[in-house]
C-alpha cells in the first residue's frame, strides 16, 4: 500500500511537470501578449512596451521564463501582470467565494441524482423510467446559459428577489435574518443551475450501475431467500452499486476550479472561474498559468485519492 502510494505520487509529479511545461508553452507560443492588450492607446510608446516586456521577463528564452514562473510560484512571490498583486492570495480569496457555490451544487447533485437513478432502475421500463430518461437528456442538451436566463426571469418575476451577485447591495444595515435569506437566494439559484447537468448525468450513471447489480446472482439469491423488496434493493443491491461512486469523492476535487466560468459570469459571482476569465481577457499569464497548475494538481490528487478509496472499500481490489 505504501509502496503503491509513493510510486503513484512520484509518477504524478512527473505528469504535473509535463502539464506545467505544456501549459506554459501553449500560453507563451500563442500570439497575443500582455503588452498588446491596449494597442490603440497613444500614450503607449515603444520604450514603454520594451519596459513592460523587460519587467515581465518576456524577452527571455522560454525555459528561463518557465524557471522564473516556478521559482516565484513556490516562493509565493508571483505577481499578477495586471495589477501587481500577489497571485496566490488573489486566487485564495476567489476560491473562498467559489467554495459555497461548489458545495451547494454538489449537495444538490447527490441528493437529487441518487433517488432518481435508483427509482428508475427499480422500475425499469415504466413510464417513470422513460420520462426520467427523456428529462435527463433534455437537461443535458439545453445550453446552460439559456436555461439560466429563463430561470432568472422566472424567479425575479415570481418571487421578486434579486439573484445576481453574491448579495444585494445596500443590505448591510438590515436585520441578520434578512441578510441570511438574501445570501441564500443569491446562492441557491446559481448552484441549482450548475447542478442541473450533474443531476442529469449522474442519475443516468446511477441507474445503469443499479441495473448491473440487480441482475447479479447474489441479488437473485436474496430474492429466492424470500427477503422483501426493500431489503433486497437497499441492503444487498444498493451497497454494491454504490462502490464506483466512492471514487467520485476524489474526482470531485477538480470541479472546485473548472466548469463554473459560464455560471459565475451569468450570475456575476466573483469566484475562481471569473478570475480565470478576467485573466484570459487581460493576458494575465501568471494568473492563468497558476489556476491551470492548481487545477492539474487537484485532478492528479483526485485520481490518486479515488484509487486509494476504491481499494479501501472494495476488498476485491488489490493495489500492486
Amino acid at each position: 500500500m505504501h509502496a503503491f502510494i509513493i510510486r503513484n505520487v512520484f509518477q504524478r509529479l512527473i505528469l504535473l511537470f509535463i502539464v506545467s511545461v505544456l501549459a506554459h508553452s501553449v500560453i507563451h507560443l500563442a500570439p497575443g501578449e500582455p503588452s498588446e492588450v491596449d494597442p490603440s492607446n497613444p500614450r503607449m510608446k515603444p520604450e514603454d512596451i520594451a519596459r513592460i516586456r523587460a519587467a515581465f521577463h518576456l524577452d527571455d528564452p522560454l525555459y528561463l521564463q518557465y524557471a522564473y514562473w516556478m521559482r516565484d510560484l513556490f516562493t509565493g512571490e508571483l505577481k499578477s501582470f495586471k495589477d501587481s498583486q500577489p497571485v496566490l492570495p488573489k486566487i485564495w480569496r476567489r476560491f473562498l467565494n467559489s467554495l459555497p457555490l461548489f458545495l451547494c451544487a454538489t449537495l444538490l447533485v447527490w441528493t437529487f441524482a441518487f433517488p432518481a437513478g435508483i427509482h428508475a432502475a427499480v422500475r425499469r421500463g415504466s413510464l417513470y423510467d422513460r420520462a426520467s430518461m427523456f428529462v435527463a437528456y433534455a437537461l443535458i442538451s439545453i445550453p446552460g446559459f439559456f436555461l439560466s436566463y429563463i430561470m432568472i426571469m422566472w424567479v425575479v418575476n415570481t418571487f421578486g428577489v434579486p439573484v445576481i451577485g453574491m448579495k444585494t447591495f445596500g443590505m448591510e444595515q438590515a436585520e441578520p435574518w434578512y441578510r441570511i435569506m438574501d445570501r441564500l437566494w443569491h446562492l441557491v439559484i446559481p448552484s441549482l443551475m450548475s447542478a442541473v447537468l450533474g443531476v442529469a448525468v449522474l442519475s443516468r450513471y446511477v441507474r445503469s450501475q443499479m441495473l448491473e447489480v440487480i441482475s447479479q446472482d447474489y441479488v437473485r439469491t436474496a430474492r429466492a431467500k424470500g427477503l422483501d423488496d426493500d431489503t433486497v434493493i437497499y441492503r444487498h443491491a444498493l451497497r454494491n452499486a454504490l462502490l464506483p461512486f466512492v471514487t467520485m469523492f476524489g474526482l470531485l476535487l477538480p470541479g472546485l476550479i473548472g466548469g463554473s466560468v459560464i455560471f459565475e459570469q451569468i450570475f456575476a459571482w466573483p469566484g475562481l472561474g471569473r478570475l480565470g476569465y478576467e485573466a484570459i481577457l487581460a493576458r494575465d499569464f501568471p494568473v492563468i498559468l497558476t489556476i491551470n497548475f492548481i487545477a492539474a494538481v487537484l485532478t492528479l490528487a483526485g485520481t490518486l485519492i479515488s484509487d486509494i478509496l476504491y481499494a479501501v472499500v472494495d476488498p476485491r481490489i488489490r493495489l500492486q
Binding site: 505528469l15 502539464v19 500563442a30 497575443g32 446559459f145 436566463y149 476550479i257 492539474a296
Partner: protein, 331 residues
C-alpha cells in the same frame, strides 16, 4: 419411390432447419435496424437530424451561392419586427424585402432577417460540430489503436502504450473548457481555430476506449486466426479489428457533435465564439440575450433550435448505443 421420399423430405427438412433457434434469422445489420426502429424517440430524432441536414445544405446554397435569403441585408426601418410580420412597404426598398413577403422569424436590432441568419447559421454550427468531432475521432482512433495494438513495442526505455496513455493523462489534467477558452482567446478569432481547438481537446475518451477495445480484440480467436494465416498487419487492423471496434466510436461521435455545438454556443456567450459576419446559432443566441424583454424571439428561437438539435443528437446516440451493444439489449 425414392424420388417421392426425397421430394417429401426436402421442404420438410428446410422448415425444421429454419425453425432451429441456432440458425440466425437476420443479419447483424437487420438486427441493428430492428432494435433501432423500436426506439421511437431515436427514430423521431433521426428525422429531425435529416431535416436539419437538409436545412443546413439549403442554408449554404440559398444564403451564399444563390442568394435567395440574404442574412446581411440591413433594414433599419424594420428593426425588431416580431415573427410573421410584413415588411414596411413604404420605407423598405423592393429589393431588400424578404422573399416570402414576411419575416418568418422576425428581425433583429439591425433589421436583418432572423430566418435567413438561422439558415446560414445551421450550416456553420453543424460544420463546427462535424469537423471538431472528426478531428477528435481521428486522433482518438489513431492513438488508441496504436496503444492497443503496438502497446508492447519499446521505444528506448518506454513502451508505446505508456507513452500514449501518459500523454492522454496529461491532456485530461487540463480543465477542458478553461483550456479551450484560453486558446481561443489567445489565437486570432476564426471559425477554423474554434473547430480545431474543440477537436484537439476532446479526443481523450475515444483514445481510451479504442485502446481497451483493441486490447480485448487482440486476444479474440478471429484475430489470432488472421495472424496465423499470415495476413499483413495493415489488413488485420483495418479489415478485422477496426470494424469491430467502431460501434462505441460511432456512439461517442454522435454525442460529441452535440457537445461541440453546446461548447460553441458557450464560447459565443462569453464573446469568444465565431465572429461576424458568420452567423451561428450560438452567436445569434448570445446577441439576442441583450433584447430578451424587447424582442424575446431573438433569444428563444436560436435557444430552442440549439436545444432541439442537441437533444436529437443525444437521443440518436442513445438509440445507437442500445442497438449496437448486445450487452444492454436484454435490460
Amino acid at each position: 419411390m425414392r424420388d417421392t421420399i426425397e421430394q417429401q423430405r426436402t421442404p420438410h427438412a428446410d422448415s425444421v432447419l429454419a425453425e432451429e433457434p441456432l440458425v440466425p434469422h437476420e443479419t447483424p445489420w437487420q438486427e441493428f435496424v430492428r432494435i433501432f426502429l423500436q426506439n421511437r424517440l431515436a427514430v423521431a430524432s433521426c428525422v429531425v437530424l435529416v431535416l436539419l441536414l437538409i436545412a443546413a445544405l439549403a442554408g449554404k446554397v440559398l444564403t451564399e451561392w444563390v442568394v435567395v435569403f440574404d442574412p446581411e441585408t440591413v433594414r433599419l426601418p424594420d428593426k425588431f419586427r416580431p415573427p410573421l410580420s410584413r415588411p414596411n412597404d413604404h420605407l423598405v426598398p423592393a429589393h431588400d424585402r424578404p422573399v416570402l413577403g414576411m419575416y418568418l422569424f422576425g428581425t433583429d436590432e439591425l433589421g436583418r432577417d432572423v430566418f435567413a441568419r438561422m439558415l446560414q447559421g445551421s450550416f456553420v454550427s453543424l460544420s463546427i460540430g462535424f469537423i471538431a468531432v472528426g478531428i477528435s475521432m481521428v486522433i482518438g482512433i489513431v492513438l488508441g489503436g496504436l496503444s492497443g495494438f503496438y502497446g508492447n513495442v519499446k521505444l528506448g526505455f518506454i513502451t508505446v502504450d505508456t507513452l500514449i496513455m501518459r500523454f492522454t493523462d496529461v491532456m485530461l489534467c487540463f480543465p477542458t473548457f478553461f483550456l479551450i477558452l484560453t486558446v481561443v482567446a489567445l489565437l486570432p478569432p476564426s471559425i477554423y481555430n474554434i473547430m480545431v481547438v474543440i477537436g484537439l481537446t476532446s479526443w481523450m475518451g475515444t483514445a481510451r476506449f479504442v485502446r481497451a477495445e483493441f486490447l480485448a480484440l487482440r486476444e479474440q480467436d478471429f484475430v489470432v486466426a488472421a495472424q496465423a494465416l499470415g495476413l499483413p498487419e495493415r489488413r488485420i487492423i483495418f479489415r478485422h479489428m477496426v470494424p469491430n471496434a467502431i460501434a462505441p466510436v460511432l456512439v461517442s461521435a454522435t454525442i460529441g457533435v452535440a457537445t461541440a455545438i453546446l461548447t460553441e454556443s458557450a464560447l459565443s456567450f462569453l464573446g469568444f465564439g465565431v465572429q461576424p459576419p458568420y452567423a451561428t446559432w450560438g452567436n445569434i443566441l448570445a446577441g439576442g440575450k441583450g433584447f430578451i424583454f424587447d424582442a424575446p424571439w431573438l433569444f428563444f428561437i436560436p435557444g430552442m433550435a440549439i436545444f432541439i438539435v442537441v437533444l436529437a443528437f443525444n437521443l440518436v446516440g442513445e438509440g445507437l448505443r442500445e442497438a449496437l451493444n448486445p450487452r444492454l439489449r436484454n435490460r
